[in-house]
Structure formats: structure tokens, C-alpha cells
């Protein structure tokens, strides 16, 4: 009897404090049955990468603070695309102009989680530079690179106004990536997700950045497989 009482009090306390703080970080369309295999088009990478805490990265990578943003984001884009090329025999990288003229839209993933990005218009197919129509496109909306970041702080709208404390002691470098697998034929989002990748570092080198991007791409690929029903 006492145990039941204790359990009930625990449940009540839990309901009051709200300890069931779990998020869904991906959402699949009911018609998403098969992950892309062998062939994929990617769009949005040219403008997606953002580096936070630039002085910290500039100091450790011996790059001047003025050019760190440009240099590291370009490098990360290259690392990520290289890793993607390894995964798909035919990787079609669409130019920035392919989707940059579409308006930005929000897509709901969970109760308080919204993903923001540019999606092609209904009834309009996106063509690559040679005029072909890729059947599915991986739209990379945003890749936030930093140290010890949490995706809740960026995508849970109840938390985005919180100022995250910058930790002195860095344990991990982080990449938070939001992306959509786009059905270009029927113009619908097949799979939306936000992934967070932590890579532990002691002495930061460019090799660490490379592994972070590799892990990110592997995470995206495995999520694309797991998300298909």
C-alpha cells in the first residue's frame, strides 16, 4: 500500500514538474517507404553552414578571425559532400540558385519543434544544371557548427530565447543539421529531421572537423534509412 502511495506521489510530482521532456526529432510522410539508394541530389549546402564561437576555432586552427567563418564553412561543406559522394554512386549537387528563390517555410516536427527552410513550390519541379529532374533531393537547410551545442536550444521554440552559457572547458565539437528529403516528382517533404552530432576533442585539428562532418553524413544516411516505413 505504501509503495503504491509513493508511486502515485512520484507520478503526480512528475506530471507537475514535467519530467517527460522528450522530443521527436524527425517526421516522415506517410508515403515515405524507401530511402534513396545509389542516386541522390543535394541542394542548399552552399548557404547552410554556420560556424559559431569563431574566436575559439580561430585560435585553435591558426586561422585569422576575419576569415575563419568563410574558410571553415567552405571546408566543412567539402568534407560533408566528399563523405556523401562515398555513399552514393551518383551524387548530383544542385547549384544554390536551384532553391534560393523559394520562400522560407516552417515545418512542424514535434509539439514545440519546428524546422525552417526553403522548400520548392507545389507544382514546380527542380532541375539540375543539365536540365534533368532528380527524383529526390536532400535539402540541407542549416548546419550549425560549434562547441557543446544542444539542438533544443535552437529548435524548441520555448527555449530559443535562452542564452546558452559558453563553457570554458570544451568537451565536444558539435554539428546540428536540419534537412528535408524532398520528393521532387510530387513536391512533398518525405522526411524531415534535425540531428545533433557530438565529436569529442582534446586538441582541435582540421582532422576533427573532417570526422565531425563524416559522422554527420553517416547520421543523416542512417536516419534516412530508419525513417522509411
Amino acid at each position: 500500500m505504501r509503495n503504491v502511495l509513493v508511486l502515485m506521489i512520484a507520478i503526480l510530482a512528475c506530471a507537475l514538474v514535467g519530467c517527460s521532456q522528450s522530443f521527436h526529432w524527425s517526421k516522415a510522410h506517410p508515403a515515405y517507404h524507401k530511402a534513396p539508394y545509389g542516386e541522390l541530389a543535394v541542394a542548399g549546402t552552399q548557404k547552410a553552414f554556420v560556424l559559431t564561437r569563431t574566436p575559439w576555432f580561430a585560435n585553435r586552427l591558426n586561422i585569422s578571425n576575419d576569415s575563419i567563418q568563410l574558410q571553415v564553412t567552405a571546408l566543412c561543406e567539402k568534407y560533408a559532400l566528399d563523405e556523401l559522394r562515398g555513399g552514393y554512386a551518383k551524387l548530383d549537387i544542385l547549384p544554390a540558385s536551384a532553391i534560393s528563390h523559394f520562400p522560407e517555410e516552417s515545418q512542424k516536427i514535434d509539439e514545440r519543434i519546428f524546422l525552417k527552410g526553403k522548400l520548392p513550390e507545389q507544382g514546380v519541379v527542380v532541375k539540375d544544371s543539365t536540365g534533368n529532374v532528380p527524383p529526390v533531393i536532400l535539402l540541407i537547410h542549416e548546419v550549425i557548427i560549434g562547441t557543446d551545442l544542444k539542438r533544443e536550444d535552437y529548435f524548441d521554440y520555448s527555449l530559443i530565447h535562452n542564452e546558452a552559457q559558453t563553457k570554458k572547458l570544451v568537451e565536444n565539437i558539435t554539428a546540428i543539421v536540419s534537412y528535408t528529403l524532398w520528393d521532387n516528382i510530387k513536391q512533398r517533404p518525405l522526411f524531415n529531421a534535425i540531428d545533433e552530432i557530438q565529436h569529442p576533442v582534446k586538441e582541435l585539428t582540421l582532422e576533427d572537423m573532417n570526422s565531425l562532418m563524416k559522422e554527420m553524413v553517416q547520421q543523416i544516411r542512417s536516419n534516412l534509412y530508419l525513417g522509411a516505413k
Binding site: 506517410p30 517555410e105 507545389q122 507544382g123 510530387k186 513536391q187 512533398r188
Partner: protein, 420 residues
């Protein structure tokens, strides 16, 4: 009539045989005398537009005079054409409305300016037609489905009308009425009235035993009988003398401020028989002996309002109050008995007045803002007046008779409510 019946039967059977498949159908409003705009991504609509109006009148007798035409404005608009093509490619049986939303802001703006016209989307998919219905209230289709294709355009129109337009119609509002309706406050934002009052009568039942409590808590009181007009095992509760269970009637009036705190005055009446021991021969002279219980008092009420429907308000409440109880004796000897016994003359007397408390809760269900039924339950007590001055020889005084008379009650009332 005899001629019409087989026709009707065939029509009903035909309805079932050709009825299309509905993917989803929300509560959209079908106006009487509606304007139906037929919108298609195909070169020609798959149905005959003029015949479709007749199909509507056959399928729905309440529809009045529908007007149907092709929606040329949207068929010439490149944005609407793109969305129509997209919708036709994306409509599938298992997709909810949210997946078919018109994402382009200009397209959803177009849908919002439809006023009370109904857009019927028809796309020819070879073996079947895709059907979707739009109105101004949402950027998603309000209903979607399909009907099997039929070379007979009249039958096809009948199928669509039977599947999607067989519902209750509403009178279309005039422009002024629409504007007025838009300015009307939403029921959801209805303010709690400053003051709500009620008056009511109730009938119920009271007994000494609280439900779900063991009998033996009460058996010493409820089981005892009165011998020789005054003797019982114990006299702390009146239920040693009086029969505890019986009907209870209440008149009451009260009010609540801001749907939260309030008060109530009440008068309660019950009649209790004396529990005379029939084996005692002294009662042979007695015709009847009972007490009327009159109680007046005041409750403090704490209330919480619920509004599950427009025509129903529910007020849950708890109350705490005090009461004064008066027991009025009614005793009579048999007609043939002239002189009562000595025991009769020195029979038990109760206190003039008892002071007690009430505690309980209940709920009022108010229909159409005025007519309420209520249920309430609680416990009430009667005790001696604790505010009397203590005297030095208080310890030596005998126990007040009936100083711990507690009972449980439940009652059902009819009420009339006002609110300010």
C-alpha cells in the same frame, strides 16, 4: 405512390452501388442555394456542369436552388493551375487534410476570399475521378475522395452529389449578417458572469450511517429503543431516540460571485418517528409520537464552472456551513385514554435548539442558462451551543442530550438560475 416506390428503391440501390470512396470529410457547411464552382486541371470538366445542379437537387432535397459553373478564374490562374496539378498528383486514400495544404501564401489567400462559395475540385484519373471540396475556412481541402468513372455524365454527377453533398444544409447569410457574425464574440471567450443566483427546492434522503463506513460505528445509536418514555443506552445522539433514516426536503437560495465564491441560505425539513419499544406495555396509551425537524442555516460555497456545450453549464461546488435545528414534538394519546401515565408526563425533552455544521459538495447542471437540476451530498451535525458560558460545576452537569447527532444526506433539486 405505388409507381414511385420502385423508382426510389432503384435510386437507393444505385446510390449504394455507385457511391464513391471518401478519404476524409470534415464538418464543412453546405449552404442552401449554394454557388458551386467546378475547378479542374483537365481541359474539360469530367461532369456536365448544368446537369450537376440537377443531380444536387435530386441528392439533397434541402439544397434549394444551386448554381453551378466552371471556375474559370482559377483555371486561368497559373498559381491555381500549379496547385491543382499538385493536388491531383498527391491525393491518396490514406493522406489526411494537413498533407494536402496549399502552401503558397497567394494560393491560400485565394481560397480565403471564396466567401461562402463552394469549390468542387474534379480531376480525371482515367478509371476514377478525384474529388476535393474547398471553402473559405481552410487552406486544405475540407473533404476529399474519389468516384468511379462513368461514361454517363449524369450518373457521374449523381454519384458525386450522393457521396459528398448528402448532408444538412444551412441558410446562406446576407452580407450584413456575415459581417455581424464576424464581429460576434466567440462563445469560447464568454466572460464568467459577475454574479449568479439561484433558488430551488430539493428532495432527498438522510440517514445516520455514512456510506462506505462499517455498521458497528452506528449500531449503538441506531439499534437502541426508548423504554418508559425516556430510557436509552446512551443519549449523546438523538438517533438513540429518533428513527434516523427518512426523506429530507429543502428550500434554498444562493449566489456565487465570479464563478468562485458565494453563499446560500436554506431551510430543511424532515420528520422523525420516536423509536418506542413496542414490547413495552406503557406505550399502549400512545397513539403517535414524532418530532418535526426544522433547520435553517447558511452555507459558504466554493464553485468551479465548466462549459461543455452552449446549452449546458456545469457548476461543481463544495459547501461548508452552519445550521440551527429545532425539534418540534407531536405526541398524542389514544382517544379513549383520558389521563396519561406518569411516565408520559415526565417523558424525555430535547434541547430547545441545536447548533450544527454542514460539509459537502455537489454539482448544478444548468440548461439554457436558467433551468437547473442539482445533486448534492454531505454530512450535517447538531450539537449543543458551545458558546455558552462555562460554569464552575460544568463537569458535574449531565451530558446534553443529542449533542452529537450526525447524519449523511443526499438530495436532488430543481433550480432556477439568474446571472448578472
Amino acid at each position: 405512390m405505388r409507381k414511385i416506390f420502385p423508382v426510389l428503391l432503384i435510386a437507393i440501390l444505385a446510390t449504394f452501388a455507385y457511391a464513391g470512396e471518401i478519404y476524409f470529410n470534415s464538418n464543412w457547411t453546405l449552404w442552401s442555394d449554394p454557388d458551386i464552382l467546378i475547378w479542374t486541371p483537365d481541359k474539360e470538366p469530367a461532369i456536365d456542369v448544368k446537369e450537376f445542379c440537377l443531380s444536387l437537387r435530386r441528392a439533397n432535397s434541402g439544397i434549394g436552388n444551386p448554381k453551378c459553373r466552371t471556375f474559370g478564374e482559377w483555371e486561368r490562374d497559373s498559381l491555381a493551375v500549379r496547385y491543382a496539378g499538385w493536388l491531383s498528383a498527391n491525393m491518396e486514400p490514406n493522406l489526411e487534410a494537413g498533407y494536402l495544404k496549399a502552401r503558397h501564401p497567394a494560393m491560400s489567400a485565394k481560397i480565403q476570399t471564396l466567401e461562402d462559395k463552394i469549390v468542387l475540385f474534379i480531376a480525371d484519373k482515367g478509371t476514377f475521378l478525384q474529388i476535393a471540396i474547398f471553402d473559405e475556412t481552410a487552406a486544405t481541402p475540407r473533404a476529399a475522395g474519389s468516384v468511379r468513372k462513368n461514361p454517363d455524365k449524369v450518373a457521374l454527377g449523381d454519384d458525386i452529389a450522393d457521396t459528398f453533398f448528402d448532408r444538412q444544409t444551412k441558410r446562406r447569410l446576407s452580407r450584413e449578417e456575415r459581417l455581424k457574425k464576424q464581429a460576434e464574440p466567440d462563445d469560447f471567450y464568454k466572460e464568467v458572469p459577475n454574479f449568479r443566483a439561484w433558488a430551488g427546492v430539493s428532495a432527498g434522503y438522510a440517514q445516520a450511517q455514512l456510506p462506505l463506513t462499517p455498521d458497528d460505528w452506528y449500531s449503538s445509536h441506531t439499534g437502541s429503543k426508548v423504554r418508559n418514555y425516556r430510557i436509552t443506552k446512551d443519549s449523546v445522539s438523538l438517533w438513540n431516540f429518533l428513527d434516523d433514516s427518512g426523506p429530507l426536503f429543502t428550500l434554498y437560495a444562493g449566489g456565487v460571485w465570479y464563478g468562485f465564491i458565494g453563499g446560500e441560505v436554506f431551510y430543511r425539513y424532515a420528520n422523525h418517528d420516536m423509536k418506542t419499544d413496542s414490547k413495552d406495555s406503557i406505550y399502549n396509551e400512545l397513539d403517535h409520537w414524532n418530532f418535526s425537524q426544522h433547520e435553517i442555516g447558511l452555507n459558504v460555497i466554493f464553485s468551479k464552472d465548466f462549459d461543455p456545450a452552449k446549452w449546458l453549464d456545469i457548476h461543481l461546488f463544495g459547501f461548508l456551513g452552519f445550521q440551527y435545528s429545532f425539534y418540534v414534538e407531536d405526541i398524542g394519546l389514544k382517544d379513549d385514554k383520558v389521563k396519561p401515565s406518569k411516565a408520559y408526563q415526565s417523558r424525555i425533552k430535547f434541547e430547545d435548539v441545536y447548533k450544527g455544521a454542514l460539509l459537502g459538495g455537489g454539482s448544478q447542471f444548468v440548461f439554457a442558462e436558467h433551468y437547473g437540476i442539482s445533486i448534492r451530498t454531505g454530512i450535517s451535525s447538531r450539537g449543543k451551543n458551545v458558546y455558552s458560558d462555562p460554569t464552575p460545576d460544568a463537569a458535574a452537569e449531565p451530558t446534553t442530550i443529542g449533542a452529537s447527532t450526525i447524519d449523511w444526506f443526499i438530495s436532488f433539486g430543481l433550480e432556477y438560475h439568474w446571472s448578472l
